[in-house]
Symmetry: C2
Subunit: 241 residues, 2 copies
């Protein structure tokens, strides 16, 4: 199966959770919007699908086309592709659990985005700096401990051991947790340096995931877009305590 | 099957999307946190599960217990229970589509919540009024048309006709769309009065859903908590243009 991923070409964003899954699984996928228009790519190719009259045209990227199927929403893309990519256990209860955890990751990612855009996504960060400072203070003081504390407990309670979020093998939730920790370290290096010793299982999961062969290959390739000031995780020192 | 729903007892909130599904399906469910402690209910009973050492203890309500299974996250609860409640078509592609739409509804609901709490959920509205005013202005000017325009197009393009979001029968997505329109009308009556003629299919869907026998029975019962100033949809006239 060849997959087509549609996402904004210049950022990791929510598409990165899907890219990491494709890469870790060694799947054959095309990152359509990053291809030149001469090869059927570019943002125009993505917008064409979003603006089409198809009954299931998505509101926003990321979305994935596989054969005749098109699916949007990062959490659901992962739940849908996880079994084929062998990135989720076979057991139905474990799959339900992975799906719920991914939704909670996505909730946290939304809040991480709001640290620099608390008022409106169409405005620049510079137009909402005082509000971003207030939002970030609460995010770092209360939300980061709430979510990371929860994910740390999830690892500690995994009956198969604290090396994976779900089950005993690498899953898409582990990959997303890797991305979450990497993003928080990029955006809030001072805070993370201060607090991450409280989350030893998460830190170990991040390190172990970064050593997975296919992940190493991806992270050191040009396919991995660097964190930057247009994505979800942005480094504004004034927002980091 | 008897279901147990766990959610904050004083608000509709995200639990309402699940309550509406149970009620429309005529399912046998217990709204645990609204029962007295003497009958095993109350918020304490809910917190006990959240604070338990169970491997799948949820971070936040709503969550549902059915037999030995416990599932959190409103969008996934609906995807999980939809087939048993007969609130989603049988066809796999239609189920995928319903799930994606529900996730997009949830994205919009998050933004609706942020209209009165753009800075931090632990602070009062009164502590973030200027920011709420800015957020709401952008929400009403740009986000409401974006989302409602999209959902209106989804209805118009439904191959089975514009009376349902997915397929030809009532689904959990229709029920959630009913709740979304009801909530927007409660929170932003002036704006909705001005703009809703642009969304005739959504308005008709809301009206038709409000006439479904089980929905009528629910909405006129004491089980339906009224919209109030503690929920997701709140009416602050100063936020409504």
């Amino acid at each position: 199966m060849q997959y087509k991923l549609y996402y904004w070409p210049g950022i990791q964003g929510r598409g990165e959770f899907v890219r990491l899954a494709f890469e870790a699984a060694g799947a054959h996928y095309v990152d359509v919007a990053r291809l030149p228009a001469s090869r059927g790519g570019g943002v125009a190719a993505m917008m064409k699908l979003m603006k089409s009259d198809a009954p299931n045209a998505p509101l926003a990227p990321p979305f994935v086309v596989a054969g005749n199927e098109m699916v949007a929403q990062s959490t659901y893309i992962l739940a849908w592709l996880g079994p084929a990519l062998k990135l989720v256990p076979r057991d139905a209860a474990a799959r339900r659990w992975a799906h719920q955890l991914q939704l909670t990751v996505a909730d946290f990612v939304d809040e991480a985005h709001n640290t620099h855009h608390p008022i409106a996504t169409h405005l620049y960060y510079e137009d909402q700096k005082p509000e971003a400072r207030k939002y970030s203070a609460a995010f770092l003081a209360l939300r980061v401990p709430k979510y990371l504390g929860y994910f740390e407990r999830v690892l500690a309670r995994n009956p198969a051991g604290p090396t994976h979020m779900v089950g005993r093998r690498l899953s898409y939730v582990d990959l997303s947790m890797f991305q979450l920790i990497a993003g928080l370290r990029y955006a809030f290096p001072r805070t993370m340096a201060r607090v991450e010793a409280e989350y030893p299982n998460l830190v170990a999961l991040h390190a172990a995931t970064a050593r997975v062969t296919n992940v190493v290959r991806y992270l050191t390739s040009k396919r991995r877009i660097a964190f930057n000031q247009s994505g979800i995780f942005r480094h504004y020192p004034e927002l980091d305590r």
